[in-house]
């Protein structure tokens, strides 16, 4: 089979592609396949027992539920962030724009202990909320809070360039045809950014499901109540239950791969939508 279908005058194809595949296999593919091998090796019954254990199922509910909710919250606030960053001028804008990426840059453990400290009932925000009966830290609310924190940049950074890319003329055309500002937003701007919003949502969701560091400090980690799925893997590992840990991990991996496919599909849609000018 001739891999080199189209002749290229540039050197280094064999070397660079060869090294790329070698390194990819060594670091990513072979280690990841260990999860598959281990899962298959353990037999169906052991697998099912591990992944359907009530404590694990409770962790799925929390992880997936809170991640979904957090991603939804991020869609709303991410769109508002992207909107004001693209369209308005206000004091502190440069700082806001730079710090939106903080959840990417700040080590998760640091974010975790900082959030836990602030929102604990004796912390600066936690103590303000306590009189109203709102407890954020050390329960599922804390999980949600941490997941909102780490997911925000995904939505902002996918929507921001797309929003900036929308020509002013398109909105003017809508206004000229009699659309009110709200109609223009709903019928023109929102459909334009919709693929980006969905992509951002899926990315934030995917990240939230697997998140560990920023969550465990504020979650309280109460069995059946505020244990996230990644923590279940760690717990099983600490009990030397490698098979159980791997089984739960394979459930998460399958889920991640499905999400990855969806995200890829969404990005293909985005490229179609945004690359061809009209």
């Amino acid at each position: 089979m001739a891999i080199r279908k189209r002749f290229s005058p540039l050197p280094g194809f064999g070397l660079s592609l060869g090294y790329t595949i070698f390194y990819l296999a060594l670091i990513v593919l072979i280690p990841l396949s260990a999860v598959g091998a281990k899962t298959i090796g353990m037999g169906w019954e052991a697998f099912w027992a591990a992944v359907s254990n009530p404590r694990v199922v409770a962790s799925y509910e929390l992880s997936f539920g809170a991640s979904l909710l957090a991603a939804a919250v991020n869609v709303v606030f991410g769109l508002i962030f992207a909107w004001v960053l693209v369209r308005y001028r206000f004091p502190g804008k440069g700082l806001v724009d730079a710090l939106v990426d903080l959840p990417f840059a700040l080590p998760t453990a640091v974010a975790g202990i900082a959030l836990a400290t602030i929102y604990a009932e004796n912390g600066p925000i936690g103590s303000l909320l306590k009189p109203y009966g709102i407890e954020v830290a050390y329960n599922p609310n804390g999980v949600l809070l941490a997941l909102i924190f780490i997911g925000l940049p995904f939505v902002v950074r996918t929507v921001q360039p797309v929003l900036a890319d929308l020509e002013k003329e398109v909105e003017e055309a809508a206004a000229g045809l009699g659309a009110s500002r709200w109609q223009t937003f709903v019928k023109v701007i929102l459909p334009h950014v919709l693929p980006a919003l969905l992509t951002g949502f899926a990315m934030a969701f995917a990240r939230a499901v697997g998140e560990y560091g920023s969550v465990i400090f504020i979650a309280g980690n109460v069995p059946m109540v505020s244990e996230i799925t990644p923590l279940m893997i760690i717990t099983k590992l600490e009990q030397y239950d490698y098979a159980g840990a791997t089984a739960v991990a394979s459930v998460m991996l399958i889920f991640s791969f499905i999400l990855l496919l969806i995200i890829n599909g969404l990005q293909g849609w985005m490229q179609n939508r945004y690359s061809k000018g009209a």
């Binding site: 020509e167 003329e169 398109v170 003017e172 055309a173 809508a174 206004a175 000229g176 045809l177 009699g178 659309a179 009110s180 109609q183 019928k187 023109v188 459909p191 334009h192 919709l194 179609n272 939508r273 061809k276 000018g277 009209a278």
Partner: protein, 356 residues
């Protein structure tokens, strides 16, 4: 609907885009705003539409002051230079947009929308594209869809910003004729912006020539081409040859030679004569009568015409267009000395045309 533009001024920062512009556009006309880029023509179009507000001055639509009216309420159709079609909507939905966003009590029912959109798509001869997306259309098709979309709300005024600017030469020519025909059919007052003099001359009923935020001349294509009011108009519409000299006794004196320009001209020392390339006769140097001497440098044949480059004794270059047949009858060749006889000279002093 007639448009009256009264003393409009607009600046962006230190840049004066428009400076006291007044124009009257009668109902049903097709008018071109013509000028080089940065002359303020697009800004003026956007102010008429209500997409931009003037710093001072008024816009009257059918005699009513519309200066403070939002673009939504002006009932104008606007076609953008790059079409600004809604990419996520089909061609049909693009055209239907203006009908669908009408307040509920004015909104036509689905059936009526369907009928009106189909009629418009037929009008622009693109009915078969109704289900396509803008990204699947050619530039010329997009332009026509943009036009159909603007017409859907039955505007009283149609405004087009460089409607042919983004198209290639052949499509551009076809679309020009088509736009003219369409206008003759629907007769809605239309204003279009262009920097292409040929386009303005071919399509419009009248032309507004603009430069540096001011109106240079308003008139029919013939008027602005044959009787330019300013040196700018003379040189922007077609190419011209310039002769500096003084006017005395109905003659323009260029060096030691005198060219008759008519008795009505006021005497002056600083006159400039404008002659278009095709307004010269070329004769052999020894021919009787008065003319300007020149030497043929190059003859370029372009179809039936010959473009002749000449040098005057002082080194200034001239361009003359003449029938190739005439040239061969006279037996003129590169290197020959000739006598140039302008048939028509427009004489200006500073920025003023000297009365003819």
């Amino acid at each position: 609907m007639s448009i009256a533009i009264r003393n409009i001024s607009k600046h962006f920062g230190a840049f004066h885009a428009l400076d006291d512009v007044s124009i009257d556009i009668p109902s049903g006309e097709l008018v071109a705003l013509l000028g080089p880029s940065g002359c303020g023509k697009t800004t003026l179009l956007r102010i008429i539409a209500g997409l931009e507000f003037a710093d001072s001055g008024r816009i009257l639509l059918e005699g009513d002051d519309a200066s403070e009216r939002h673009v939504r309420e002006r009932n104008v159709g606007f076609v953008f230079q790059h079409y600004a079609l809604f990419r996520h909507m089909t061609v049909f939905e693009n055209v239907a947009f203006g009908l669908r966003v009408k307040p509920r009590k004015y909104r036509p029912n689905e059936n009526e929308i369907r009928k009106r959109v189909s009629r418009l798509l037929e009008l622009v001869q693109l009915g078969w594209l109704a289900d396509r997306y803008p990204s699947q259309l050619s530039g010329g098709q997009r332009q026509r869809i943009a036009l159909a979309r603007a017409l859907a709300v039955e505007p009283k005024v149609l405004l087009l910003d460089e409607p042919f600017g983004a198209l290639d030469a052949k499509v551009r020519k076809e679309l020009r004729r088509w736009l003219r025909q369409l206008h003759d059919e629907i007769h809605v007052t239309s204003v279009f912006v262009t920097h292409d003099q040929e386009e303005a001359l071919e399509v419009s009923d009248s032309i507004v020539v603009m430069n540096k935020g001011r109106v240079e001349q308003i008139g029919s294509p013939d008027q602005v081409y044959d009787h330019p009011a300013t040196p700018f108009v003379a040189s922007f519409l077609g190419s011209v040859n310039l002769f500096h000299g003084r006017v005395e006794d109905g003659h323009l004196h260029v060096g030691e030679h005198a060219l008759a320009v008519g008795a009505g001209h006021v005497a002056t020392d600083q006159a400039v004569g404008f002659v278009r390339p095709h307004e010269f006769d070329l004769l052999p140097a020894n021919a009787p009568g008065t003319g300007l001497p020149g030497k043929i440098l190059r003859i370029i044949a372009i179809g039936p015409l010959a473009q002749v480059e000449l040098a005057r004794p002082n080194g200034e270059l001239l361009e003359v267009a003449i029938l190739r047949d005439t040239l061969s009858v006279l037996g003129l060749r590169e290197g020959d000395e000739v006598s140039l006889r302008p048939r028509n000279i427009r004489v200006f002093q500073n920025n003023e045309r000297l009365a003819a």
